[in-house]
Amino acid sequence: MPVDEEIHWFDEAAGPLVRPYAMTRGRTRPGNTELDLATQIVSVLTDNDLQTLTPEQFSIIDLCRHPLSVAEVAAYIDVPLIVVKVLVSDLIERGDVVTRYAGAVERPSRNLLEAVLDGVRRI
């Protein structure tokens, strides 16, 4: 292929150059299926070898030194949600992050709602 064609054979419409599921080695389902958009993720200090992580996973650990939701992580590292869930699920298994499951609260407590109401009134 001539050099000039090699440079310009794709454009933005072609989408990302790394196929999203390549980051998850083809997996499309997280091992931890409880991960919700709003699940909070926090990094935990361990002796685990961080060199074995993908760049995206490393970014997640770096970002989550303070609690962040799955959705925020996906937005900040610009990776689709489902891919982030697979990556985070792996990190949970390794013990590099811990989470607080947010979804499926059958009934939020009155205390929680009252705290939310106070908080929203203050903004």
Partner: protein, 209 residues
Amino acid sequence: MVSAGSDPQTELVIPTSVKVLVAGGFGAGKTTLVGSVSEIPPLSTEELLTEAGEDVDDLAGVEGKTTTTVALDFGRISISTEIVLYLFGTPGQNRFWFMWDELANGAIGAIVLVDTRRLDSSFPSVDFFERRKIPFVVAVNCFDGAHSYAPEEVRKALVLNPEVPVLMVDARERESSKRALVTLVEHVLARMAESAGEDAALVSPGNSV
């Protein structure tokens, strides 16, 4: 509040997250409302639509395409160190219904934004929340130049139950969007009190879990 794991080196507090949905037809002002109250500029994230969505997504004409994406806009309000509130805008197109299940899972309630020029586009949202018994309020976004309807007219047009609050908002105004949120949480609390009364449950104010 939960302490992170059993690891003694961490004294981490992982906040409880609370979800509120902002629904409504395409162009009703969902992202504008989220942006006016969020402490961060609205973020956007994509969900890949693959085999999970094939049966609901119309792939006619794009047969060669194996994945497509649906963008989700959302904002964040830190209530305290222990509680963080997320506002998720629902995807406007009907073909993304499959995303609504995940969005609605655990949500405390919803704001249905209505553009009176396209009232019919808010029917599906109202229907969804009614069927799921998710508390919601209807916020009529008063666009410049749009014919202004009285809240009662909107209530009648959307066939809303009498207890559903209807309010007029300007999604661009922080105070106005905030009022919609306050009205929603008050409504959720009121509904909770009602159902507690019906159940004759032992609820002592401010001390229930």
